[in-house]
Amino acid sequence: MMEVELTEMLDALNQYPPFSEMQEPELIEQMVHEIEIQYVRNGESIIVPNTINEHLYFIRSGAVEVLSTKDQLLRRMEEGELFGYLSLLRDGKVSQEIKAIEDCLFYLIPAHWFKKLYVEYDIFSDFFELIRENRLRTAIEAQNQNSNQDVSLMTCPVKSLLRRPPISIEDDVSIQQAAQRMADKRVSSLLITHEEELVGIVTDRDLRTRVIAKGLSYDESVKVIMTEDPITLDSGDFASEAVMKMMAQNVHHLPITKNGKAIGVISTGDIVQKESHGSMYLISDIFKQQDVSALQAISRKMTHTFTQLVHADANSVMIGNALSRIGTTFIERLLQLAEKKFGPAPIPFCFIALGSQAREEQTISTDQDNAFILSDDYDEEVHGEYFKTLADWLCQSLDQCGYPLCTGDIMASNTLWRQPLSQWKSYFSDWIQNPKPEALLRSSIFFDLRCVYGEQSLARQLTDHIHLQTQQHRRFLSHMSRNANQRKPPLGFFRQFVLDGSGKQSKTFNLKERGIAPIIDIVRVHALACGSRKLNTMERLQDIEAAGILQEGRARDLAMALELISMVRIRHQTEQIDQGLTPNNHVNPEHLSSLERRNLRDAFHVVSRQQEFIKFRYAGERS
């Protein structure tokens, strides 16, 4: 007899994980020789509860449905997928029914092979990890390995830009001695200290403009030409802060301090080297533009910045952060221009960003959501016209810069959302004390608010008010929880379809509406409950975890689910951009890899469970 080669079976198995990921071809080949094959007609049950299962089933062709003991649809599976492991991990005891929904051909892998591979090979057992949260963790870890934490100035600490200890000199030296020191050390800036305390800085430019150009004697004290009490930055600040400061103050060197001591200097050159994807250039460009049409022109670079960040393996937090900063910068610059155009504001005001921009979770192509909080000095008769003109112009300009007008009219141009602080407070009091279902959905966006321009204190006072109200009217939380349950994530995928719990199958689904928004909603409720002042969902989750509202690890599960779903959305939008399409949130499962589908299914599961939990957690809250 010839050696028996079961090529058809082997090739089929090796096409799909976990077999495709395993490094032991001989072992799998050995296993294939013990496979049994079974044909099952559409409509017949393959495994039924309360029996003993002895095989891991591989779907060679056809499809099956998994049903709970209550006959509830749990998932559908197709070619290349495996089932039966749940019972194998419990001594064969079957608890879920598996039913053919098409004519099927199965390869049956004996239980002893499953157990052997499960015990001996991590790649194999990881695949069958029953706890979806653990599986999600593995997925995120794999993603993080690729993700470049240093990719963005937005998120890397300023100290990561430091290349050497600072070069300094005491302040009792002459200009020439200082210049000599700079030449020796080949630096373009020199810190001046007095008894080791930082008192000033001298740069190449100072030597040029303050010494040579002015014909100053080189023997003069260095104190004459140094910039006194230079702007510094703490070593823990983000590098982006450095850029903002340098641009705002028009300086090219910035001493970095730690516990008050200078530990180095960063220059614009350091920034340029670091910055490869241009988000900082874009921000500095925005500040340089003098009118709306110029801003509109550079707003087209945003797509490029976005794709560059993605290609540099930034994670969703970095991308959200960068895009939100860019968005904020457009607003800041436009308001600066507006104040030149329409004159300074007659009374203090605060321009607030709402929703994703407030949470610093903006993506490419997001509608504008914004509002004005005006000082209580506001007098409609006197000031109404000014702020109306300002708001209309601003919202229209933002629209031209790639931030489309909000379809729900949640914009500063809407009189309702251009009100003095006292009015805002009564809005919130009403929403919180008399929650109405239809108003809730809309109002949830207002609970994420961030001052972008103007009087910070107005936004802060409003936030204080919101938190106080929430603490006093806990019933509001139960309404918010119900609200957070309105948008349900899909059950999973089947073939090219999205599968719902009801068994309904659709072609595409909105990843934002059904994956990201539900998480944000859940987290917002917990954040309000624990009094967190954070806006960013990931940061809120840290506060929630610290407050101990959720069971150990659950906050992290939500963070992982959010990161995973967000990255799928980001990749989806990048692909659309590459294809010349307008990026949106509608994902077609056909374009997802099997790994993405699996990870998404796990993430959706986490969201569903947390939606359930939140209903129960705040159900009993009373005013």
């Binding site: 090529t7 058809e8 013990e34 079974q38 007609r41 062709s61 056809g62 098409e102």
Partner: protein, 242 residues
């Protein structure tokens, strides 16, 4: 010509041919040897339910289609029941046909001169093949080919007749196609009874054709599908074999 021989052989012995009786006679009258042992192993009783029948799916690749001139180049087999096909039982033999392979046949089964040159002659393996078949009902797609070539081979090696009952997936499919409603017959284009075409009608995956072992699996799975859809596994085997 051989098909005719087999028909005569069946007709001689009436409609309800008693395979059991035939096996007993052969077992008693044949001289000692592999063939006698094959018949001694018997055949499932006539009233054995299809569901309880031990079966062997079999396929041959040959140098051509004329059993008297052409010979076997490879044999594949796998045991099965109505519910399971067991990979562990799969067997595969490549034999030296003792003649040049025609270019035409090479393109079909993809076995080359050098593949078969090294292989032993069929005589070396025939006993093993008979052992695999012993006591089981043979399942093939298109009974005539296997029947003729195995008959011819036994005749050449032992000078004796080799007849055995077969579950023919092709014959079953023809019957199924004939029994379809008029509407279905008019509106379904696919009425081919080639192995691959039959498999597609049952949603079975596409396998590479004309490899003796793969084709044996293909027929095995096809029979399972035919049973699931059209046959009654509780009926006696004798209702379906030929």
């Amino acid at each position: 010509m051989l098909a005719k021989l087999y028909d005569n052989f069946r007709q001689d012995s009436n409609q309800a041919f008693d395979w059991h009786d035939y096996y007993l006679t052969q077992a008693q009258t044949l001289p000692e040897g592999p063939l006698k042992r094959f018949y001694q192993a018997g055949v499932p009783a006539l009233d054995t339910k299809l569901a309880d029948s031990p079966m062997l799916a079999l396929d041959l690749e040959t140098t051509g289609l004329r059993s008297q001139k052409d010979t076997i180049v490879s044999v594949g087999s796998v045991t099965m029941s109505t519910k399971r096909v067991k990979c562990a039982s799969a067997q595969y033999w490549v034999v030296n046909p003792g003649a040049r392979l025609s270019a035409e046949s090479i393109t079909i089964h993809e076995l080359t001169h050098s593949d078969v040159e090294q292989a032993p002659p069929l005589s070396r393996y025939f006993e093993s093949i008979l052992e695999a078949m012993a006591g089981k009902v043979v399942v093939v797609h298109c009974a005539a080919i296997e029947r003729q070539f195995l008959y011819q081979a036994a005749k050449k090696l032992y000078g004796q007749d080799l007849f055995f009952p077969i579950l023919d997936t092709l014959a079953i499919e023809q019957k199924v196609l004939k029994q379809r409603s008029l509407l279905k017959r008019i509106f379904t284009a696919n009425t081919s009874v080639r192995l691959d075409a039959c498999r597609q009608r049952y949603g079975l995956p596409r396998y590479k054709a004309h490899h003796a072992l793969t084709d044996a699996f293909s027929s095995a799975e096809l029979l399972q599908a035919q049973i699931a859809h059209h046959l009654d596994a509780d009926k006696p085997l004798a209702d379906y074999w030929s």
